[in-house]
């Protein structure tokens, strides 16, 4: 499916957020690309992981009007049991179109470069006046590099600032060819130890670190970010290992993200076997992590 999407040079996004003010400078439109190579246990956009469309049924919103059941050409929906027969469903989306409650939803919408540009241009005047722009987020936006190769030059033609939020897990060449079009990169590090990294994200971190090393050798502006996950990556060992890693690369700054567990409220309607982590942000712990990094000589910033 993904390769097909790329052939047609369309992107699959699961959300477009306008007036986004926490994903880069100024007022921004954040594009959430669908599909990611990692499966982080704390991923705050669990609906972004799979790189294909998904049909979800939000039982909490359903009023059992059965409009969808009647409309489904494949008879794949059973509202009595609130189940979808995914073997029959071909993701045609008719159920989502007719559902009055937004209870049937297709996650993932396709965009051509032009249609996405049109959406971005709607808020151009606000980017211009706040020194904002667009942010590529996800999921992992870089996995849809073929699309971006067409899309980003169009964006730059309009002099729009581009920020990328990336987890760094993909072949370097995917990112490399896009670098001229990206003004600022938020590059995420999660856990320094490769095995631990695999435990929590499903993949080792070698590729991520290799890509980061490559990035430090370019002229691109970037900022390392780390989500502080209580008990998981705020340990003394991980902080020290991360500092070493950054020292080796000559990086002096890190931005720490506070953990938020809102994603757990999405789990009930998503397929797959994600489990809640049952962790909570803890201000004291967060401050201690900030202090730990500072003690090792890094400049730490974070959102208040």
């Amino acid at each position: 499916m993904q390769s097909l999407a790329n052939q047609l040079k369309t992107a699959l996004l699961f959300d477009v957020q306008r007036f986004s003010i926490h994903d880069g400078p100024g007022i921004r439109t954040t594009l959430f690309f669908k599909g990611c190579g990692l499966r982080c246990a704390w991923c705050h956009n669990p609906d972004s992981q799979i790189h294909t469309k998904e049909l979800v049924h939000r039982v909490d919103r359903c009023s059992e009007c059965r409009t969808c059941e009647v409309a489904c050409p494949k008879k794949a929906i059973n509202i009595t049991t609130h189940t979808i027969n995914h073997d029959l469903c071909d993701l045609c989306g008719i159920c989502a179109e007719v559902c009055p409650e937004l209870s049937m939803q297709i996650l993932g919408l396709e965009y051509t470069p032009q249609s996405l540009l049109d959406i971005c241009m709607q808020d151009f005047s606000y980017y211009e006046n706040s020194k904002g722009g667009i942010t590529l987020s996800g999921g992992e936006a870089i996995l849809q590099h073929d699309f971006l190769e067409d899309f980003l030059p169009m964006i730059k033609n309009n002099s729009i600032h581009v920020t990328l939020e990336t987890a760094g897990f993909y072949p370097w060449k995917f990112l490399e060819k896009l670098l001229p079009y990206i003004d600022l990169i938020y590059y995420d590090l999660k856990i320094a130890d490769p095995e631990e990294h695999k435990n929590y994200t499903s993949k080792k971190n070698e590729v991520i670190l290799e890509n980061l090393k490559n990035l430090t050798q370019t002229n691109n502006e970037f900022l390392i970010r780390m989500p502080v996950i209580p008990e998981i990556n705020n340990t003394k060992e991980n902080v020290l290992a991360t500092v070493k890693l950054l020292n080796n690369l000559g990086v002096n700054d890190i931005f720490l993200l506070k953990y938020n567990n809102l994603w757990e409220s999405k789990l009930f309607y998503l397929s797959g076997n994600r489990k809640p982590l049952n962790l909570k942000y803890n201000a004291q712990q967060f401050d201690a992590t900030v202090q730990a990094f500072e003690e090792y000589g890094l400049r730490v910033s974070f959102e208040h």
């Binding site: 926490h22 009055p100 409650e101 980017y127 706040s130 020194k131 600022l184 910033s301 974070f302």
Partner: protein
């Protein structure tokens, strides 16, 4: 390699992105001129005097003032020559009329024959009196003088600027000569009514019932307007309040007097102007004609009313000297003596100092309010015309920045002493008790240079120290506006309270010029009341005269949706029976709107004519440019500009309803129009699924959906064009606007369900904003929808309420976001925006514990109000507005 090394700990306090942003910004315009004032204001120690004044105003109870009513009645009774027979008829008439007012308050309307009989009687009284316009002007000038000779005057502790807008600390003057009779059914319970109780003592109550109301019921505007109503049914439609509201039967409203001229010439100078005009007329050949006699009478009435104001100032002087004599505190004694000296000079003579200038305006402003009920009397471009006085005193060492802020604060506090007195039903439409005195700062000169000066900053600072609900502060923003001034505005806005509101100079000036305003006057525009832009000092814009519920047009089209509600709709087009496509529907809506506008405007014409013929305001005429020159009273078209404001309420509701019908009936063909109407008539009961579908699946105005926005633009266009076609009785054009005060709640309460999915009785959308909570795509989408309306059509203002969570706008980064939103919106053609930045939790708590939040100020429409003064449903609306921060 170039990592973002800029970020250090100090910047990280705000946000990392801010650091990057700073690096990214182009060099800002130089603000050297204002850096000094900005910095000195940041470090200014708050004035204890202002704090004391603020506290005393917040703690004051609301009281009715009947002094003006009493003295005016006394005077007119003295000169009245009513014979025994007429007295008898009037007595009987009053007994019957009282009953019908009580019935009206219960939505039981007058029969046609009752209206006709009433009109016959009033017409009989007027014929009997046989007074010419000029004589009436002189009578009212004398009554004004009689009043100002007698009204109580009082200085309150700590004040440096005197003048009482009413006789109480916070007072609501009652105007029986206008529409106060509508209070009759509730006057006994007014101190204990659930909404906005206002106290009145027993003696005053008796005087009202036995003396004042029985005299004025047949002489007031409420009575006289019936003489000029083309359609007797209009009176009932007005009282019913579901289709339109006409405000001017309660008093003329919304203008900016020529206070700068009062400062330059003094009242005596204005009298001389009138005298010169009189001589000039007398020199004309046919000086004896009746028309010329009327002009001479008018100029005589100006002279009398100006003398009255000078007399009033003299009373103040005497009073202040006496107060100073008995004052034991030496410091205060000196202050009082100085104030006595000041009122000896002003407003009679030209002002020479900053304090004199402020005092001159305030005494004049007080006099204006004793002449008549005038809602929204505004100060114009205060920072511009006060600047020479400020600068001179500052340079001579007479004045310091601290003192100037304190004086401005003392001045503004006076504007918060006045309350409009609404009868209970009117409270639905004008909740928040705003007296709507607009104060405009900033802006641009004709040569494109910024008008911002140090005083523009000081005005904001004075407001910041007071944070009272009045006056309304408006900032004009132009490309040339210094960044530091913009930043200062953001800092003040972010503290909550919704002020200043922001106006887009480029677009508003362009739009004014398109509406036949001279470029010089358009560039000099200021805001009257809530958001009505126009030329100050030389206009009588009656900006708040009319509000029309345009969402009602759809229900009026269909038999099944016409809510009779005790009304006879014979003057409106019959319900339609055949509609084949969307075009048909649009044509029908257009026709209905045309009729509705026509009826409302005819009603307003009747009211304005009755003001001109029966309730002139000579003093106001003296201080509105054009009246003396034209030798014509201000209600009679004497001003240079004479528009009348006509507002549409429910723009979003009508656009959303039209689009929902187009989608459901004509495009998706989900159901027939008849079926849809049936469901809407039943308030969607049993069809919640359809309502949800409409709400969730059909785009709404405010979501930046091109198709809905196009319909909204069409609605705005036909409304504006229909309104602008008509001329009022003063010879000016009607002027369309989209600001609603709280009429969206008043109309909404009486409006059945709509195809937009809005349920029966729910509020309509406010101002030019989308329906509350239906703007799910965030502020940029909302602003784009609004910017897509053709601003050049809108000559009487609009209001966009934008809510932002306090979290989003913290620190310098927050300023940048807000300025980005504002500049982005304005560069797309947006004209006005105001922000409510407040945590919804605070409001929820305030609703539960009103006593702990006496001073909580929130933004309503084009004005701010104490949260506690709002109706319960308006409180809920404000909470809801702040809850839906679908952004970030």
């Amino acid at each position: 390699m170039n990592p973002t090394t800029l970020i250090d700990k100090s910047n990280s306090k705000i946000s990392n992105t801010n650091a990057i942003l700073k690096n990214d910004l182009k060099a800002l315009p130089k603000d050297q001129n204002f850096a000094e004032i900005y910095n000195s204001l940041q470090n200014l120690i708050p004035s204890i005097r202002l704090k004391n004044i603020r506290n005393s105003l917040i703690d004051a109870k609301y009281e009715i003032c009947i002094e003006k009513a009493r003295y005016m009645t006394e005077y007119f009774k003295k000169i009245s020559k009513v014979g025994f027979f007429q007295k008898l008829i009037e007595k009987i008439h009053y007994i019957v009329y009282k009953k019908s007012v009580v019935k009206i308050s219960k939505d039981i309307y007058q029969k046609k024959w009752q209206i006709k009989l009433n009109r016959k009687l009033i017409s009989y009284y007027r014929r009997k009196e046989n007074n010419s316009k000029g004589q009436i002007q002189i009578d009212f000038a004398n009554a004004f003088k009689y009043t100002l000779e007698k009204v109580p005057i009082k200085i309150f502790s700590d004040e440096l600027i005197v003048g009482n807008l009413s006789s109480k600390r916070i007072g609501a003057p009652l105007h029986p000569d206008l529409g106060a009779l509508m209070l009759l059914p509730e006057i006994e319970e007014i101190s204990s009514r659930s909404r906005n109780p206002i106290s009145i003592n027993k003696e005053e109550l008796e005087s009202l019932k036995n003396d004042i109301f029985p005299f004025w019921f047949s002489r007031s505007i409420l009575a006289n307007m019936n003489l000029y109503m083309k359609n007797p049914e209009t009176f009932n439609m007005l009282m019913n309040g579901s289709l339109f509201v006409l405000t001017q039967f309660s008093g003329i409203s919304h203008l900016t007097p020529n206070y700068p001229e009062v400062l330059h010439l003094g009242i005596r100078g204005i009298m001389e102007k009138a005298e010169n005009k009189r001589k000039f007329i007398l020199d004309q050949k046919d000086a004896k004609s009746e028309e010329i006699q009327e002009s001479l009478n008018f100029l005589e009435s100006i002279k009398i009313s100006c003398e009255a104001v000078i007399l009033y100032a003299n009373r103040w002087q005497k009073y202040l000297i006496e107060t100073a004599q008995s004052e034991t505190n030496e410091v205060r004694k000196i202050e009082l003596e100085k104030m006595a000296e000041i009122v000896k000079r002003v407003p009679e003579h030209p002002a020479k100092t900053f304090q004199e200038a402020l005092q001159s305006i305030m005494l004049t402003h007080a006099a204006v309010h004793y002449e008549s009920f005038q809602h929204g009397v505004s100060f114009g471009r205060l920072d511009q015309y006060l600047y020479p006085y400020f600068k001179k005193d500052l340079d001579s060492g007479e004045l310091t920045i601290e003192k100037a802020v304190e004086l401005l604060g003392c001045f503004f506090a006076k504007a918060a002493e006045l309350l409009p007195l609404f009868f209970d039903k009117a409270t639905d439409y004008f909740s928040g008790l705003s007296s709507a005195s607009g104060t405009t700062i900033g802006g641009v000169e004709e040569d494109g240079k910024t008008s911002v000066n140090e005083l523009s900053f000081l005005v904001l600072k004075a407001y910041d120290q007071l944070r009272l609900r009045q006056p309304n502060f408006h900032a004009r923003i132009h490309e040339s506006t210094p960044t530091l001034f913009r930043t200062y505005c953001m800092e003040i806005i972010k503290k909550g309270g919704g002020m200043p509101a922001l106006f887009n100079d480029e677009k508003i000036i362009e739009s004014q010029i398109q509406h036949h305003v001279a470029k010089k006057d358009a560039t000099n525009y200021s805001i009257v009341g809530c958001s009505e832009w126009g030329s100050p000092y030389n206009s009588f814009p009656a900006a708040g005269a009319i509000f029309i519920n345009i969402a009602s047009t759809i229900p009026l089209l269909f038999k099944s949706l016409r809510n009779v509600n005790g009304l006879n709709f014979s003057s409106l087009p019959q319900p339609i029976t055949t509609i084949h496509d969307f075009k048909d529907l649009q044509v029908a809506v257009w026709d209905m709107l045309k009729e509705l506008i026509s009826i409302a405007l005819d009603g307003n014409d009747a009211i304005e004519t009755s003001h001109a013929n029966h309730r002139p305001t000579p003093f106001l005429s003296a201080i509105v440019d054009g009246c003396i020159n034209n030798a014509k009273e201000v209600n009679d078209g004497g001003a240079i500009y004479n528009p009348t404001g006509c507002q549409a309420t429910g723009l979003a509701d009508l656009a959303d309803s039209l689009y929902a019908i187009e989608q459901l009936v004509f495009l998706e063909k989900k159901l027939t129009l008849e079926e849809l109407n049936g469901i809407v008539a039943n308030n969607f009961s049993g069809n919640e699924t359809l309502r949800k579908y409409i709400l969730n699946r059909i785009p709404k105005y405010g979501e930046n959906d091109l198709k809905v926005d196009e319909i909204a633009s069409w609605v705005a266009e036909i409304f504006c064009n229909e309104v602008k076609k008509k001329k009022n009785s003063r010879g000016g054009y009607y002027s369309p606007g989209f600001w609603t005060m709280t009429t969206h709640q008043g109309f909404g309460k009486r409006q059945g369900a709509l195809p937009s999915g809005r349920m029966s009785g729910d509020s309509l959308a406010n101002g030019v904003s989308p329906k509350n909570g239906w703007d799910k795509k965030g502020p940029t989408a909302t602003m784009n929808s609004i910017a897509s309306l053709d601003g050049n059509l809108i000559s009487n203002g609009y209001v966009l309420n934008q809510k932002l969570s306090p979290n989003f706008v913290k620190g310098d980064f927050g300023n940048q976001i807000m300025l980005g939103l504002i500049d982005g919106f304005f560069s797309k053609g947006g004209m006005q925006v105001q922000f409510n930045i407040i945590d919804p939790e605070v409001l929820i708590d305030a609703k539960k514990n009103p006593d702990q939040y006496k001073d909580l100020v929130v933004r309503i429409s084009g004005y701010s109000a104490y949260f506690n003064d709002l109706t319960e449903s308006m409180k809920d609306e404000i909470i809801e507005r702040t809850m839906h921060c679908s952004c970030g």
